[in-house]
């Protein structure tokens, strides 16, 4: 019997012990609410023995403030690529991704990767997770009853035309509580550049929003999911997957509410949410393992089925539920894709003007 294998085994054990000692089996994840399938997280914990501590937020602003303050304690976060991750990469708050540790890296959609190169040269810092649109979700029965079955629904007029919005106000209209999202939609409805920083455009959009302000029930970035599902809300400005989750919850509850997702014909904001590791992440090794796990086609297909967003792994498409794969709200046809818009990074002065106008719209002063 040769002694060499034994030594090899011993060495391997030592190395293994070393790695385990280097990083405790814990991972702190900060992700959007309702943005993962629980079974997938459980599967990851069982396979790797890494305990995932999972926190959620419902706005990029909250995530950003934690990251900019430093020492957030998170290992993996899911910012929206534009303009958030774009700005974060410029500020240097993310660690570079070690692609050699990601066996599934080759699964990523080259088209999406190319679309991210301008904000992340060489795709060094972020890995795409899911993408979707900020669109409209509505309660089919209630809207048809008030506007007629033939009235167009795939338009921002549902919330931005006072004549239409006033007829829907009694059953409830909600807007996302985010100046970037709302002003982009209002500007595109007015036929203007959604990223315009011109004062005249901002004033026009503000006037438009003020004209429909009396018909808006509330401004919130996640409350509409439950309210649409329960039939407490008629029309919601919301994230496409969240609207589809509201639809699914209504189906599960069997309460007779039919929620429909529509991407407005005038155009809508498209977003890509990415995975990134803060530079001071305490467990980067474990974070890499979760990133790699989430690029596995079976895993990400399960998540897309559950959350109603398209992902960046083309090989997962054939593994998804047929209903998800064929949903035009999740995988829009080419002519709709061409109308999608990417929010640009605004300079601080332009951002301030938008936020100020947003406060004026909401608070009336």
């Amino acid at each position: 019997m040769s002694r060499l294998p034994l030594i090899g085994l011993l060495a391997a054990t030592l190395v293994g012990a070393n790695i385990a000692a280097a990083e405790e089996p814990v991972l702190h994840v900060y992700n959007w609410s309702d943005y993962i399938a629980d079974e997938v997280l459980q599967q990851f914990q069982e396979e790797t023995g890494i305990k995932v501590v999972y926190d959620v937020y419902d706005s990029n602003e909250v995530l950003e403030a934690k990251l900019l303050a430093g020492h957030s304690g998170y290992d993996l976060v899911f910012p929206t690529a534009r303009p958030f991750a774009q700005r974060h990469i410029k500020a240097g708050i993310y660690r570079k991704v070690d692609k050699t540790r990601l066996a599934n890296y080759g699964n990523l959609d080259p088209v999406i990767m190319k679309g991210l190169v301008d904000l992340d040269p060489g795709n060094e810092h972020v890995v795409p997770y899911m993408w979707g649109t900020t669109s409209i979700g509505y309660n089919a029965a209630k809207v048809n009853e008030r506007l007629g079955a033939d009235a167009p629904k795939d338009t921002w007029a549902l919330m931005f035309d006072p004549k239409v919005a006033s007829r829907l106000a009694d059953c409830g209209i909600s807007l996302i509580d985010d100046p970037t999202e709302v002003f982009s939609a209002a500007l595109v409805y007015l036929g203007k550049d959604p990223n315009s920083t011109a004062k005249a455009d901002l004033d026009a959009a503000t006037a438009l929003l003020e004209s429909v302000r009396p018909y808006i029930r509330y401004f919130h970035s996640s409350q509409y999911i439950n309210d649409l599902a329960n039939g407490d809300l008629c029309v919601a400005h919301g994230y496409s997957g969240d609207i589809l989750q509201a639809r699914d919850r209504a189906v599960e509850a069997n309460n007779g509410v039919e929620v429909v997702l529509t991407i407005p014909r005038e155009g809508a904001v498209a977003f890509v949410d990415v995975m990134a590791m803060p530079a001071d992440a305490p467990h980067p090794e474990n974070a890499h393992r979760l990133i790699d796990f989430l690029m596995g086609p079976e895993v990400i297909a399960k998540i897309s089925d559950f959350v109603g967003y398209a992902n960046a792994i083309p090989a997962s498409l054939s593994l998804m539920d047929e209903a998800v794969r064929n949903n035009k709200g999740i995988f829009p046809p080419q002519e709709v894709l061409e109308r999608l818009i990417a929010p640009a990074e605004l300079d601080p002065a332009a951002q301030r003007s938008r936020t100020r106008a947003w406060t004026r719209v909401k608070a009336g002063r």
Partner: protein, 312 residues
């Protein structure tokens, strides 16, 4: 050669210092000072420093005040534009005025509810006082946030109040109580009432009942005795309670955010917007500094006025 008056000042300072340095006494007195310095002075200096900087894209997202240029020249850059902005845009003064308004009304309501409560507790049997005080303090055993969320459940459209009133047939449509100014007042009064009751109880329970008997003997009816004896003697409690309610209520964020509507403009919310939407830490810090100045100045003046009143 120091002038005589300066000499006197120096002498006094020396005496004060010696007194201060008396071992035990000095240590005891310096503890609260250390506490204040560490948890109030230092954080305030950090905020004041951020308020004089500029926004940058980076970590942290504001510029340095002092930097050593390559030439070895020490550069100090102070940016007062943030404070100018607070003047130029009426948003900040509006929000401040509205916060003061909401806090004042809430304080008054707390006083109107809290005073009879505190007085009542001092007038019951001795054995009942501790249980009653416990009931005042008991809500603190539950998280503040959970208690505010509970109000959402009570006030919302298909919540407790609306459902009960509808099942009684008193109303047909659910009431819109949540996300209104009313809900904000309700939340603040509910949350801060104990801060009013406790100091009031502390002063009222120390009051000598013989004074009321004397007033009665001198022909003052109970109501007159209340106004001319009880209220003036409980003034320190009224002031302490009112400050304990008013000051935190002005800067309150959680209650207006969860219970108030989008038109509830309060300074806490404005701060949030600056910090999160604009990512403008310097302006957010200036709002905080201005708020502190506007709040502390009247309180200090008031204290001084009171001290003078007492010494006379």
């Amino acid at each position: 050669m120091p002038s005589p008056s300066l000499n006197k000042v120096l002498q006094r300072a020396r005496r004060g210092l010696r007194q201060h340095l008396t071992p035990g006494r000095g240590a005891v007195a310096s503890l609260p000072l250390l506490w204040l310095g560490l948890f109030f002075g230092l954080p305030f200096l950090i905020i004041a420093r951020i308020s004089l900087s500029e926004v940058v894209i980076g970590l942290p997202p504001y510029s340095a005040l002092v930097d050593l240029a390559e030439s070895g020249m020490l550069q100090v850059r102070l940016n007062f534009a943030n404070f100018l902005l607070l003047w130029e845009d009426n948003l900040y003064l509006d929000a401040f005025a509205n916060s003061v308004h909401v806090a004042s009304v809430s304080t008054l309501i707390c006083l109107l509810i809290g005073y009879p409560m505190a007085l009542g507790i001092t007038r019951v049997r001795e054995s009942l006082r501790v249980p009653l005080l416990m009931l005042v303090i008991l809500p603190f055993w539950t998280s503040f946030l959970i208690r505010v969320y509970a109000w959402i459940g009570i006030l919302k459209g298909n919540g407790l109040i609306s459902n009960v009133l509808m099942s009684l047939g008193l109303i047909d449509e659910p009431l819109h109580l949540l996300h209104t100014e009313f809900a904000v007042y309700l939340g603040i009064v509910y949350a801060y009432l104990p801060f009013m009751v406790l100091p009031l109880y502390a002063t009222l329970s120390r009051m000598d009942n013989a004074l009321l008997e004397a007033a009665a003997d001198l022909g003052c009816r109970p109501l007159c005795a209340f106004w001319r004896v009880t209220v003036p003697l409980s003034l320190p409690g009224i002031i302490a309670g009112s400050l304990l309610v008013f000051v935190p209520a002005v800067g309150e964020f959680v209650i207006p955010d969860l219970l108030g509507g989008p038109d509830t403009l309060m300074i806490g919310k404005v701060l949030w917007t600056e910090f999160f939407n604009n990512r403008d830490w310097p302006v957010a810090a200036s709002v905080a500094v201005a708020l502190l100045a506007l709040l502390v100045a009247p309180v200090l003046l008031f204290e001084r006025f009171r001290e003078r009143g007492q010494s006379e």
